[in-house]
């Protein structure tokens, strides 16, 4: 409440008489726990205050739809997975990369139900039901497919059934409920969920952790004015130095943002080339 009052106060304290600017549209994907409406509202208010510009968050069911919004100039920026970034890096540029445990990296987890003793490695997945998160997700699709092929297994025929749950959180739920025997999930999301909903993650267990990959980045379309890009970047960077921003980062389970560089996504790019882009 105090936070809200503070923000309200700061909004009102802004210099008057300015023209009402076009809202900045930022698209979000389920690379983080994007289903917390209150949190999103606070974050939006924070960004509006720092950008002195209205901000609208746009959410879509699939990564693909968000990528399309970006490519068709319908949103200025987006928080997307490294996989669509490397596929579309000609038309997108990095805005900021979140710092997770102080580093711009995360892993993919292979999870199964806590009471499912039959899955203890990737090779145990034959004849099982498998949950991917999104066909454009690195941790939830690209890496598992790549890794299975490296193991000499064909993801197309290996499973009895596989399906997309369209969000990492849904993968955890599908595995916990027994809809899927195993699933590939963003390790960062699983760890965040463990703090927020330990009951749900408690019904799952991590079978295998992938090597580190570049954390899902904030990207902008290349044709966005540089001034706007810099504004947005500094707004994000300011969060780790601002009490309100700090508390928002805590809720995101992140330490802050870094500028990052394309080399972070070399691993994903290499896998994408091997597996073939969707």
């Amino acid at each position: 409440m105090l936070l809200l009052a503070l923000m309200l106060y700061s909004t009102l304290a802004c210099p008057e008489g300015r023209e009402v600017r076009e809202p900045l549209r930022i698209a979000l994907t389920p690379v983080f726990l994007d289903d917390r409406v209150d949190f999103l509202e606070h974050w939006r208010a924070y960004l509006e205050k720092h950008l002195r510009q209205p901000v609208r968050f746009i959410q879509r069911k699939t990564y693909r739809e968000v990528t399309w919004l970006l490519l068709r100039n319908e949103v200025g920026a987006a928080w997307i997975c490294g996989f669509p970034y490397v596929v579309n890096d000609k038309r997108l540029s990095l805005l900021a990369v979140p710092l997770y445990h102080g580093k711009p990296f995360y892993r993919s987890y292979l999870i199964t139900a806590r009471d499912n003793a039959s899955v203890n490695s990737w090779r145990d997945l034959e004849g099982k039901v498998f949950a991917f998160s999104d066909p454009d997700s690195n941790s939830g699709y690209l890496y598992p497919v790549y890794h299975l092929r490296r193991l000499g297994l064909d993801p197309a025929t290996l499973f009895r059934k596989s399906f997309f749950a369209w969000a990492h959180r849904n993968v955890v739920e599908a595995v916990a409920e027994g809809l899927a025997d195993a699933g590939a999930v963003d390790g960062y999301v699983w760890e965040s969920l463990r703090k927020q909903n330990p009951e749900l993650t408690g019904r799952t267990r991590v079978v295998s952790r992938s090597p580190e990959f570049g954390f899902p980045p904030f990207v902008v379309r290349r044709n966005l004015p540089d001034q706007e890009i810099e504004h947005l970047r500094s707004a994000l960077f300011s969060m780790q130095h601002d009490p309100v921003g700090r508390s928002l980062l805590d809720k995101l389970d992140l330490d802050g943002f870094t500028r990052g560089n394309d080399a972070l996504y070399g691993g994903i790019r290499q896998m994408a080339e091997e597996v073939g882009s969707p």
Partner: protein, 472 residues
């Protein structure tokens, strides 16, 4: 068991029968209502399931079409994990599980276990009455086709555990249970009270009969019921029976008294005769001896002594020998008036007032000497029995061919045990009597074919002499 029931008092048996019948009725009704409710609950559940399924099918069709398991799962799973809700299983065209609300129970991409599936495919639900099929025990199943214009994509199975049916059934009836219990209680109470009420006259009758067995019949009083049902009639018939028994006992007792008196009469008459004959001889011999005068003075004194003794015997014997003497003149009113005059003095001395009612008229064909003797006896006895300042009522009158002589005094009652022997010789005496008065009176009345009755209670003692008048 049966014997135990037969031995059980009607006091319990009848109420128990009524309660049993009431309970049976109530339970039967309850069962009918419960069965009806159960059927209703079942159809309601089926209707709800079908409604829900019909809503889901349009959303499930694209999920199958686009192979979107997660979409189908979220549709089927719902938000809350209510144990009471239905289980949904979506089958694809090949009959394998595409998605389900309980994925652990119905794993994806496997055919549905035959125990669950039963004899699929099921016919589409008929219009109107919707009902489940029960392909496997404990499961109620509805099936809906998931179809688009292009054809059938699969089937939606809606399953309920049968426990849920019982749960719903319990939910819908348990609120009515207190009312049913109350009705049972009231019905039982009414049955009990009604039974007690119906059985009460029989218990009363039973108690009276038991009393009759243990106590003298005279003290028994039977309460009758005015109703015309069997019990009411029974009480009245029983009262009649008791009255008849009382009459019989009374007659028997009278008969015993009469027999005893008759026997005593025969004995005394016989003895008197046997004494009278030699006595006559002795008296004649004695007279002859005295007339001849050949005896000295000592002998004469002895003879006188003998004569006086013999005369006393003669008097006593003749008192016992009651005989109708033909020389008696017919009885007239004046005979009773004479008696009145004769006892008037004695009554006055005893401070007893006599109420005299004499309505006899004409000459009655009865031996006046004997009747006067009876009347005299009764009156003198009565005066003696009446306390000072007491009252004596005498009625002499004729009616319906009999002469009635009633002597009533208000003296102390004569106890029952004395009444039974009152007319026996020497049994009941008072200071100035011989003890033979009533005996002689009884003998006289017997010889005249009449009756003499005595009744005595707190208020008065009454002697009634009835003498038949000869037809002239």
């Amino acid at each position: 068991m049966i014997r135990w029931w037969q031995d059980l008092s009607f006091r319990f048996k009848l109420p128990l029968i009524l309660i049993g019948a009431s309970l049976f009725m109530a339970c039967t009704l309850s069962l009918v209502v419960a069965r009806y409710t159960f059927t209703n609950v079942r159809h309601e559940l089926a209707r709800q399931g079908l409604e829900l399924g019909t809503l889901m099918v349009p959303a499930l069709a694209p999920a199958i079409k686009h192979d979107d398991v997660w979409l189908a799962y979220t549709l089927l799973h719902g938000d809350d994990e209510n144990e009471n809700s239905a289980e949904f299983v979506l089958l694809d065209k090949n009959g394998t599980v595409f998605a389900s609300s309980q994925p652990r129970e119905y794993p994806l991409a496997l055919p549905l276990a035959a125990t669950v599936r039963g004899d699929l495919p099921l016919p589409a639900p008929a219009k109107g009455r919707i009902d489940f099929s029960e392909p496997s025990p404990g499961r109620l199943l509805l099936q809906l086709a998931v179809a688009t214009d292009q054809g059938n994509l699969g089937n939606l199975l809606i399953m309920y555990r049968k426990d849920l049916l019982w749960q719903r059934f319990w939910d819908s009836i348990h609120s009515g249970l207190p009312a049913v219990a109350m009705v049972l209680l009231v019905v039982s109470a009414l049955g009990w009270l009604g039974g007690r009420l119906m059985i009460r006259p029989l218990l009363e009758l039973n108690r009276t009969i038991s009393q009759a067995m243990e106590n003298p019949l005279e003290e028994l009083s039977v309460a009758t019921l005015p109703f015309d049902d069997e019990v009411g009639r029974l009480t009245r018939r029983f009262a009649e029976l008791v009255e008849r028994l009382k009459e019989k006992v009374r007659l028997e007792r009278q008969m015993i008294v009469s027999d005893r008196l008759a026997a005593a009469g025969r004995v005394t008459a016989g003895v008197a005769h046997e004494i009278n004959n030699p006595l006559g001889g002795m008296m004649v011999s004695l007279n002859t001896m005295k007339k001849l005068g050949t005896v000295d003075d000592d002998t004469r004194r002895t003879l006188d002594l003998l004569e006086r003794g013999l005369r006393q015997i003669q008097e006593t014997v003749s008192a016992l020998l009651v005989e109708v003497k033909p020389d008696s003149h017919p009885l007239v009113k004046e005979d009773f008036e004479d008696i009145h005059r004769l006892v008037a003095g004695e009554a006055r001395d005893a401070f007893v007032r006599i109420e005299w009612h004499n309505t006899v008229s004409g000459k009655l064909q009865l031996p006046s000497t004997l009747v006067r003797q009876v009347a005299m006896n009764l009156l003198l006895n009565a005066i003696h029995a009446t306390p000072r300042g007491g009252r004596l009522i005498v009625h002499c009158h004729c009616e319906e061919g009999v002469l009635l002589l009633e002597v009533t005094n208000n003296g102390a009652p004569i106890p029952q045990h004395i009444l039974e022997h009152l007319f026996e010789p020497y049994y009941f005496t008072h200071s100035e009597g011989t003890g033979l008065g009533l005996w002689i009176s009884y003998q006289i009345v017997q010889q005249l074919d009449g009756t003499i009755e005595v009744s005595s209670d707190e208020g008065e003692t009454r002697f009634v002499v009835t003498l038949p008048l000869e037809e002239t």
